[in-house]
C-alpha cells in the first residue's frame, strides 16, 4: 500500500483527532492511528475505546489497504518537516511503514489494522442538526461545572434534554449547576442523554467557529457527531442524572442586580485575601449596597469592598466560594446580572439580565456556611 500526501495537510488532520488518544491506553494498539486507504481517500481513526474520532482526507493513490501507525512518532516527525509532499509505503506482511520525504527516509513499525477495535456503527434512533457555534457555546457554558467525582458518574458529563420546544444542556458538580437552554435546537422526539466530558472537550476544540451544520445522531448507548470531514462517536454515560429541576429554588425574594464586570473584578481582588482552600468570601447586602469581604485568619489578611448595586429584599449575609463565582461570572457575557437568593443556606441563582436570542442561561451556586442558621 502506497500513497502520497502533503505533510501539512496530513498533520492538520491528525492533530484534529489526536486528542482522543490516551497517554497510557489499556490496549497498546490504541497508541496508534488507524489508516484506511481506499484509492485517493484516506480515513484516519483515533480511539480511546470510549471515544472515537475519524477524519478523512484526499491523498494521491490508486491502492487500498489499512495499517495502524504509532501516533506520537508520526506526529513528531510531521511537526519537524517543512511543508512538502511525502510518500507512505506500507509492507502489508511486516506492517513496516516507510515515510519518504525530499531528503530522507523514516521507518516506523506499524501494527496489524485488524487489531484496532471496531468502531460502533450508527444505529440511529434520533437525529438533530445544529450550528457548530451553537454547540460550541452550549459546551463552553456548561463544561466547567461538570463533576470530576467518579463516584457520581452521572455528573461527569453534560446532561442533554431534547424536546420539541427547546434543548437543555445541564452540568453540575454538586456545588453548582448550569442549565443552558437553546430554543433554536429542537427535536420532534423527547429524549435525554449524558455525554461524557472528554468527548465534549474534544468536540469543543475541533468544532469550527462558524455556523457549519453539525449532525448529532443518538442511539441507546452512543452519540455520533459529524461535521465537515470529521466524525466523532462516544459512549453515553448510562446513569440517571440527578433530579436537578427540584434543586432549583423557586422563591427567591432577595434580588441583587449588578454590573457583571464590576462584580467580577471586585471578587478577583477580594479573593486574593480569602482562605486559600475554601476561597470563602462574604456578601453583605443591604439597600442598594453590596459589601464583599474576605479574611484569611491563618495569615491575618483581610479585605473588603463596597459596591453599588440594585438590591431588593431583606438585609442578608451570605458566603460563597469566590472561585465558583468568578468562574461562573467569567463565562457570561451579559453587561448586567442578577443574583437571586432566599436564605444564606440555600442556593443562589445567577441570571444574566439581558438575553441573547434563543438562549437562556441559569446558574445556580450553593453557599458556604457562615454561621448556624435555623
Amino acid at each position: 500500500m502506497k500513497f502520497v500526501v502533503s505533510s501539512s495537510v496530513l498533520l492538520k488532520q491528525l492533530s484534529a483527532v489526536n486528542g482522543v488518544i490516551a497517554n497510557n491506553p489499556i490496549m497498546p494498539i490504541l497508541e496508534n492511528f488507524l489508516f484506511q486507504l481506499d484509492q485517493n481517500q484516506l480515513t484516519v481513526t483515533a480511539s480511546d475505546s470510549q471515544t472515537v474520532m475519524i477524519t478523512t482526507l484526499e491523498v494521491e493513490s490508486n491502492e487500498s489497504g489499512a495499517i495502524a501507525v504509532p501516533a506520537r512518532l508520526l506526529l513528531d516527525t510531521l511537526r519537524g518537516l517543512p511543508e512538502q509532499p511525502i510518500t507512505f509505503k506500507v509492507d502489508s506482511e511486516t506492517f513496516g511503514t516507510e515515510i519518504i520525504s525530499e531528503n530522507g527516509r523514516y521507518k516506523l513499525s506499524g501494527e496489524n489494522s485488524i487489531d484496532f477495535p471496531k468502531v460502533p456503527q450508527v444505529a440511529k434512533s434520533l437525529s438533530v442538526q445544529l450550528p457548530a457555534d451553537v454547540l460550541a457555546s452550549a459546551i463552553g457554558n456548561t463544561i466547567f461545572a461538570v463533576s470530576n467525582d467518579d463516584l457520581r458518574p452521572a455528573m461527569t458529563g453534560v446532561y442533554v434534554q431534547l424536546s420539541a420546544e427547546y434543548t437543555n444542556f445541564v452540568a453540575t458538580d454538586g456545588h453548582r449547576l448550569i442549565r443552558y437552554r437553546r430554543s433554536d435546537v429542537k427535536s420532534d422526539y423527547e429524549s435525554t442523554m449524558i455525554i461524557p466530558r472528554k468527548a465534549l472537550n474534544l468536540l469543543k476544540s475541533s468544532l469550527p467557529s462558524d455556523d457549519t451544520t453539525v449532525t448529532a445522531d443518538f442511539s441507546q448507548s452512543n452519540a455520533f457527531f459529524s461535521f465537515n470531514n470529521i466524525r466523532m462517536i462516544c459512549r453515553l454515560i448510562d446513569e440517571r442524572f440527578p433530579d436537578y429541576e427540584n434543586a432549583i429554588p423557586q422563591n427567591n425574594p432577595n434580588v441583587m442586580t449588578i454590573n457583571r464586570m464590576e462584580l467580577l473584578s471586585s471578587l478577583r481582588r477580594i479573593s486574593i485575601y480569602s482562605n486559600k482552600t475554601t476561597h470563602q468570601i462574604r456578601l453583605k447586602l443591604s439597600t442598594n449596597e453590596l459589601i464583599i469581604s474576605a479574611e484569611d485568619l491563618d495569615y491575618s489578611n483581610e479585605a473588603n469592598e463596597r459596591l453599588i448595586c440594585d438590591y431588593e429584599g431583606e438585609e442578608m449575609e451570605i458566603g460563597f466560594n469566590a472561585k465558583f463565582l468568578v468562574e461562573m461570572l467569567g463565562n457570561l457575557s451579559a453587561r448586567m446580572i442578577s443574583l437571586e437568593m432566599s436564605v444564606p443556606n440555600r442556593a443562589g441563582l445567577i441570571i444574566p439580565s439581558e438575553k441573547e436570542e434563543s438562549e437562556d442561561i441559569l446558574m445556580l451556586v450553593m453557599p458556604v456556611m457562615l454561621n448556624s442558621y435555623a
Binding site: H175, A247, N275, A347, M366, N371, A374
Partner: protein
C-alpha cells in the same frame, strides 16, 4: 485492668410512674399506650403476668388480658424522673451513658465517692432512686456492658445481681441465645436452625463462620460468647437518628389519607431539627401495613438537608414509592440519620440536595 460497670434499668418504667401518680392504678394490670390501635409502650408487672409485653399490639394485649387498663403516656413525667435518676448517677461517676429514659450504663471503676465495691454502689443507687422517686430499679454489676445488662435483667424486678470476673464465661455459656442483647428473634431462629441454642453452642463456632453467616456483627457474637465486650461507657454517645412515627386510629387507604397522615410527622421531625440545629443527610420513611409487614424507603442527599421544603418533598417522594398500595397502612414514620450539627458546618461548602 478489670472494669466495674453497672447497668441500671427502671422496672416497668412508664407503667410504674403511672401507678405511682395514680393510686387507683396500683396493683392492677395496666398498659401505657393507646387502647384501640398502636402498641403497648410499657406494661405493669400485674399485666405481664397475663403475657402482656411492651411493643405488643394493643389488640393482642387486650385479648390476653381483658381487664387491662390502658393509660395515656405522660412523657413529661417520665422525662422528669429520668432527670432525677441521672442526677443520682452523676454523684457517683461522670461516666454515665444513658440508653433511654429508663436505662443507663455507669462505669464506676473510678468513682467520685472512692468506694471500692461496685455492688455497694449499685445498692446505694437503688436505694436513692427509691427514696427520691418511689420507683424500683434493677441493677446489674459486672466487668463489661454486655454482662452488666444481662445481670440487671436476671433478677428483675427490684433486683441486684453481680457477675464476677470468674463467672462471666460460665454465665454466658448456659444462657439461651435469644436472651443475648443484640440477638433478636430472627437471628435467634437462624442460630437455632444451625444448632446454636445457648452460649456454649455459640462459643464452638469460629469467628469466620459467624462473620460469614451474620456479617459484621458476627465478630461481636464471637466475643460475647466468650463474655468479652470492650465497648466503653461513653457519656457523649450522640444521637444517630431522629424520627417520629404515628400509628393511626384507622388504617389509611387512600393517597389523601396517607399524605395528611405523613404531614404532622414531617412537621415534628423538622421541629426537632430547627430547635437543635441538627440536620440529617438521609431521610427514611417507615411504613407498617395492617398485617404488621413493615417496609422502609430512604434517600440520601450529599449534605445535611436544611431546607424544609426539600425535606418535605423528599418525604413525599418516598411515600410515592409505596404506591400502588398493596394493603392498608397502620403506621407511618419519618426519620433522619447521618446527622450533623450546623455548628460544625461553619465554613463548609454546601452541596446541592440530590
Amino acid at each position: 485492668m478489670i472494669r466495674k460497670i453497672i447497668h441500671i434499668d427502671m422496672d416497668a418504667f412508664y407503667a410504674s410512674v403511672e401507678q405511682r401518680d395514680n393510686p387507683e392504678l396500683r396493683g392492677k394490670p395496666i398498659a401505657v399506650g393507646g387502647s384501640e390501635r398502636g402498641v403497648v409502650a410499657a406494661a405493669s408487672y400485674e399485666a405481664r403476668k397475663f403475657g402482656v409485653r411492651s411493643a405488643m399490639p394493643s389488640k393482642t394485649a387486650l385479648r390476653k388480658c381483658p381487664q387491662l387498663i390502658f393509660v395515656k403516656p405522660h412523657f413529661e413525667n417520665y422525662r422528669a424522673v429520668s432527670y432525677q435518676i441521672r442526677e443520682i448517677f452523676l454523684e457517683y461517676t461522670p461516666l454515665v451513658e444513658p440508653l433511654s429514659l429508663d436505662e443507663a450504663y455507669l462505669d464506676v471503676t473510678e468513682n467520685l465517692k472512692g468506694m471500692s465495691s461496685a455492688t455497694e454502689i449499685a445498692r446505694e443507687i437503688k436505694a436513692r432512686i427509691k427514696e427520691k422517686t418511689q420507683l424500683n430499679a434493677s441493677a446489674g454489676v459486672s466487668y463489661n456492658k454486655f454482662l452488666a445488662k444481662l445481670a440487671s435483667d436476671y433478677k428483675k424486678p427490684d433486683g441486684l445481681f453481680v457477675i464476677k470476673p470468674n463467672q462471666g464465661e460460665a454465665f454466658v455459656e448456659s444462657l439461651p441465645v435469644n436472651l443475648f442483647h443484640g440477638v433478636g428473634r430472627v437471628t435467634a431462629e437462624k442460630m437455632n436452625k444451625m444448632g446454636i441454642f445457648n452460649g456454649a453452642d455459640l462459643k464452638e463456632k469460629d469467628e469466620a463462620f459467624l462473620k460469614k453467616h451474620f456479617g459484621k456483627i458476627g465478630g461481636y457474637y464471637y466475643n460475647i460468647a466468650r463474655a468479652i465486650d470492650n465497648r466503653i461507657v461513653n457519656p457523649e454517645r450522640s444521637r444517630k437518628s431522629v424520627g417520629s412515627e404515628n400509628t393511626f386510629f384507622r388504617d389509611l387507604e387512600t393517597r389523601a389519607e396517607l399524605e395528611s397522615g405523613l404531614e404532622p410527622i414531617i412537621r415534628d421531625v423538622w421541629k426537632y431539627c430547627a430547635k437543635t440545629h441538627i440536620y440529617g443527610r438521609t431521610i427514611t420513611l417507615k411504613v407498617k401495613f395492617l398485617d404488621f409487614h413493615t417496609i422502609t424507603r430512604s434517600k440520601s442527599a450529599l449534605s445535611p438537608i436544611m431546607d424544609k421544603d426539600f425535606f418535605e418533598r423528599i418525604s413525599f417522594e418516598l411515600l410515592e414509592q409505596i404506591y400502588p398500595l398493596p394493603k392498608g397502612v397502620r403506621l407511618l414514620g419519618i426519620s433522619l440519620s447521618n446527622l450533623e450539627s450546623t455548628d460544625d458546618m461553619i465554613g463548609k461548602q454546601l452541596t446541592l440536595a440530590f
